[in-house]
């Protein structure tokens, strides 16, 4: 009996190389050899915060109801990086940041990051954690109605939603639009991207949220992860193009190779 199952050699090699790629990429990230592109969504975020200052109304930053233990943890981490960035902008420009929380696991980290950001700007005394980072609920519709209620009362001028979102995405996007808030939305949950794309002023599609998070955090681990993924995507593109061209002339070598 063969040690390796037939037809699964390519996936296994690909899986093992992920390990290698992650190591190399993170080390390269630490040495500063990798640059993540600044995506346009970040400019939109700055605009949202700036607008809130001008209008003298709060800016919301919602990171979703994900936790560190579910499979959307990386999206939550990206959301937290953005929250840290938005908190820094808010502290510097003097915007009233409101970041409601849904997860008991994530909340302490969120508080810490916002505190850090205010501290860096020397505005720690302006931060009121209980008011600005209230805990609402970890249950979907309670969380949604909590946010909608707060939005109606506080009338924010801007809303930034980056993280994992479920059916509540539609409710949020619609509510904040109704009260006239400028919105930036982003999630890597494919099912919800269309709502953000349709209803927000700017939408970060899928993995753009990871790139944005890595860019603003500058953390080698996040940057390296993105680089490792990029290498795989480049391979995917190369194989797709070469394979499609070859199969157009009747040579099916790439697909056969991948089936090993």
């Amino acid at each position: 009996m063969a040690i390796l199952t037939e037809g699964r050699i390519v996936p296994l090699v690909a899986l093992i190389l992920v390990w290698v790629a992650v190591y190399i990429a993170i080390n390269m990230g630490k040495e500063g050899k990798i640059k993540v592109r600044r995506i346009a969504g970040l400019d939109a975020i700055e605009e949202v915060v700036g607008r809130s200052v001008e209008m003298g109304r709060p800016v919301f930053d919602i990171i979703g109801m994900g936790t560190f233990t579910d499979s959307y943890a990386t999206q939550t981490v990206a959301g937290l990086s953005i929250l840290n960035y938005v908190a820094g902008l808010s502290a510097r420009l003097g915007a009233d940041l409101v970041a409601p929380q849904a997860s008991v696991d994530v909340m302490p980290v969120a508080i810490e990051l916002v505190r850090d950001a205010y501290n860096v700007e020397g505005k720690l005394d302006e931060l009121n954690v209980d008011e600005q980072l209230p805990y609402l609920s970890g249950t979907q519709f309670a969380w949604a109605s909590g946010i909608i209620g707060m939005a109606a009362r506080r009338k924010p001028a801007g809303n930034i939603m980056i993280g994992p979102f479920w059916a509540e995405s539609m409710m949020f996007a619609e509510t904040f639009d109704r009260i006239g808030a400028m919105q930036v939305g982003g999630t890597a949950r494919t099912y919800q991207i269309p709502f953000f794309a349709a209803l927000c002023d700017y939408c970060l599609i899928g993995e753009e949220i990871f790139a944005a998070g890595a860019y603003v955090s500058g953390e080698p681990s996040q940057i390296g992860t993105i680089a490792a993924q990029d290498w795989y995507k480049l391979v995917a593109i190369a194989l797709s193009i070469v394979g499609a061209l070859l199969s157009t002339v009747g040579v099916n070598i790439i697909a056969e190779l991948l089936a090993r």
Partner: protein
């Protein structure tokens, strides 16, 4: 005639209460919502206990004493609520995470990565008829440019004339998202219709 069945009256009340939220947040909705949260969590416990009985307890009864370890691990999960011994919960959660991650990525690299590339690679770009060729080209361009759009560490791919490649990817994705959005409209109305039929047929009995 309106029904006299208390179950249907209760269900009708909660249907209307849950709908009312779409119009405005109100106390009746809030009552329904908190009820929902409580009942949902209770259902989880009931199903959890049944699951433990069916797949764990029966094994111990059959003499597989090793399952006592699983029960100990299971109880350790609840250490997370303890101030001092919370770290005990890491042992069972580590087991669950290792299993969950392993079982999904071992196949994801195949299903989501290799099979998808292979599908693009084995589809000829030119087929017998014009429509087939156009479709093949759009699919190919969509797949490749969408991936290019999601490359973040290669600045050159987003500059100058080449910069149009990821842009095309973004445009094609937006077209696809539109299709998804349009389909979702159908999904939601289809779902609400069931509730309306319930109210009209079972509760008010007018259809």
């Amino acid at each position: 005639m309106v029904t006299m069945d208390p179950q249907i009256w209760l269900a009708a009340f909660f249907t209307i209460a849950a709908t009312s939220y779409a119009f405005r947040d109100n106390v009746v909705f809030k009552f329904a919502e908190y009820t929902f949260i409580g009942v949902a969590a209770a259902h989880q416990i009931v199903m959890g206990v049944k699951n433990i009985r069916d797949y764990g307890w029966t094994k111990i009864m059959e003499g597989q004493i090793i399952y006592v370890v699983v029960f100990v691990l299971g109880i350790m999960l609840y250490a997370r609520f303890h101030r001092e011994y919370y770290w005990l919960y890491r042992f069972p959660i580590a087991f669950l995470v290792g299993n969950g991650v392993g079982i999904s990525i071992r196949a994801a690299i195949h299903s989501d990565f290799i099979v998808q590339i292979s599908e693009t690679a084995k589809t000829p770009l030119i087929t017998g008829d014009a429509l087939g060729t156009i479709n093949a080209l759009i699919t190919f361009v969509g797949a490749v440019t969408a991936i290019v759009h999601f490359i973040f560490t290669q600045e050159k791919l987003h500059e100058g004339a080449i910069g149009y490649i990821p842009k095309i990817g973004r445009w094609l994705m937006l077209l696809a998202f539109g299709a998804s959005f349009g389909n979702t409209v159908m999904s939601r109305f289809g779902m609400y219709q069931g509730r309306v039929v319930f109210l009209l047929r079972d509760w008010l009995q007018i259809i």
